[in-house]
């Protein structure tokens, strides 16, 4: 009986989760799946230091490998928790992000770089 109860709860949660996820934008998924924790609100960071992941320069296949089976400190997102559809939404979001301004366009950083 207890098993049946939990199964029902899980099914309900799963169904609700899937429906909610379908409605979520790539940007929302980026927050919900915790990508934002290491990569900043728009993917401008490459984890703990490193180059930004947005605007995404890699192909979808390369992105899939990086998300499903990363070789670095990044946690892997298995298909059971991040669907293929969600992964593609994330990819499209990261491709749509505008690049950050260049150092040459930021007087503050230019002066900091010059040691002033």
């Amino acid at each position: 009986m207890r098993t049946g109860y939990w199964l029902a709860v899980l099914l309900l949660l799963g169904a609700g989760g899937a429906n909610a996820a379908e409605e979520r934008s790539g940007k929302q998924l980026f927050t919900d799946f915790g990508c934002v924790l290491c990569h900043g609100s728009t993917g401008y960071r490459g984890g703990i230091g490193g180059r930004p992941i947005a605007p995404m320069q890699h192909s979808l296949d390369a992105f899939r490998i990086l998300v499903r089976s990363p070789a670095n400190a990044m946690p892997a997102f298995a298909p059971q928790v991040l669907s293929e559809e969600q992964l593609e939404k994330l990819y499209q979001f990261l491709r749509s992000v505008s690049p950050s301004p260049e150092v040459a366009d930021l007087p503050l950083l230019k002066s900091l770089g010059a040691g002033k």
């Binding site: 934002v36 924790l37 900043g40 609100s41 997102f77 298995a78 928790v81 503050l108 900091l112």
Partner: protein
Amino acid sequence: MTDKEHDTEQGQLGRRSFLKAVTAAAGLGTVGAAAHTASAAEGAPSAPAALPPSAEQESREHSGVFSYTPEQEKRYFQENPGSDFMVDVIKAVGIDYIAVNPGTSFRGLQESLVNYGGNSKPELITVNHEGIGATIAHGYFKAAGKPMAVLVHGVVGTQHLPMAVYSAWCDRVPMIVLIGNHTEPAERAGPTDWYHSAQDVPSILRDFTKWDDTCYSVQQFSESMARAYKIAMTPPMGPVVLAIDTHMQEEPITGRPRLPMLSPTIPPQADDNALRQIADWLVAAKNPVIVAGRVAHNQMGIDLLVQLAELLQAGVVDQRNRVNFPTSNPLSAGSVGEADVILGLETTGAVPGARQQGKRTATIGTGDLLISRNVQDFQRYAPVDLSVAGDAQASLPFLIEAVKQRLTRSSRNVIAQRGKAWHERWRQQREANLNAMRYGWNNSPVSTGRLYAEIWDQIRQRDWSLVSADIFQSSWANKLWPIDRYYQHNGSSGSAGIGYGAPAAVGSALAHKKNGVLAVNVQKDGDLMFYPGTLWTAAHHRVPMLTIMHNNRAYHAETMAMQEMCNRRRRGVTSGARIATTMDDPAIDFSSVAKGFGVWSSSLITDPAQLAPAIREALAVVDSGRPALLDVHCSGR
């Protein structure tokens, strides 16, 4: 009528009214609590709270004499209390500040510090938690180079201390903890004194303090205070504890015991022959690298390390527990990756890169001279080719001379080439870091890179000190600010614990106050929530300090750790990481928190374009001698 006369008259009337009430009650034959209740119910005059005067007092009242008899005076009033002499001792060793949260077990000493000592050198710093006091002392030492004392109340005050004292232990920071204790059971006034007392109260801190003593006489206190100061300040430095008996503080003393003569200990220098061996290895090396832990005790330590590194053109890996090496010096781009000889100076535990194939490693340090039997801050065992006991800064002059004697014309040419390589690496690192700083430049929440760039822009023309660690903000200051002087950065807590940031910053700012150095504290939100009352201490003591909140609304490192756990277990990926790691429901309004404690603040900053004008406004407040806080909603790191 003077206030005193008025009080006396009020007192007389009170007593007479009391006598009337007692007489009336006696006439009714009411005795005991039950009868009292009955008379109150009947509307009879209720008994006053004060006790009736004794027959002796009544007799004096009728005779018009309102003072104690000479015998009573002798019993009650105190002349020459032991704690006055204790103040002389504390002044003699040169303590400038004592952090205190009041407690009756040291009321004698507290009164003497205020009225006999004039509350100056030492001045009492009021704190709302003993952990705040000890951590203020931690930060103060790292900026002032001298220890503070912390005065705490028996068992109940001391048990608030361990985390703060443990951080000081790990960070090799001296402080003197004074614990009031009702040591003699016969002197305890009641149950509370018993709750607050212990047979061996320093034992609460013994796992991570260098030395302790329990003082029963002021002469003992005199010697133990000098010894405590000396032990705390001898490398490897650390906290020490003195339990100070309440009775000892409050009882009068006859005559004047001896004041202590402070005899500072010259730090131990490493063995000459061992240093010559290290010099041989360094000069013969193709690529020597120096790893610096807690080397520098002051600016001289930095200057000596620069001298050694430049003689050898050796790269330096500064672990940033202190400022050991200037970030503007290109040799700061050191890395052990391609080193063939590694010299570890006051490193804790394994030296990075040590014992890898083809690498020779030597260490100079005092770590082996101070090991806890219990806590494990000593880290992993460090297998090295040559381990030399000695204070690194004290050993550097001899090592530098030994290196100089071994340099030849041909070795100087090789060394010069090595320097060019480090210079190029340093330039490339800076360029990469600047490039990384621009990412998310206009984002909201504000990127930590933008935050540090904007702060720098407002302080670069001033004499400043970053009184907080930047490790949880991607180490932006250490990557890009020119941190070249010893006082310009404090490093971290030492224990990687939490709750250190705010009070340590206030302690450092307190030390910088007299020199006019601008103290800048980039404050982690989760850290401030441990000891928010620190802000009140800053306001109360008019400690000028600019605090800028790195408010990411989370214990962010733990959020990331939880995210990894959820992913590995393939469950709760979208929710589990945020439970018990975040502080966004409700988001904490740190501006209101600050204002509530008397610290100036403006409204929450979410747009990075607001930063520059807000920092300017806050700096004007700091320039007026008061603390200011800006709450900035920031990215995670």
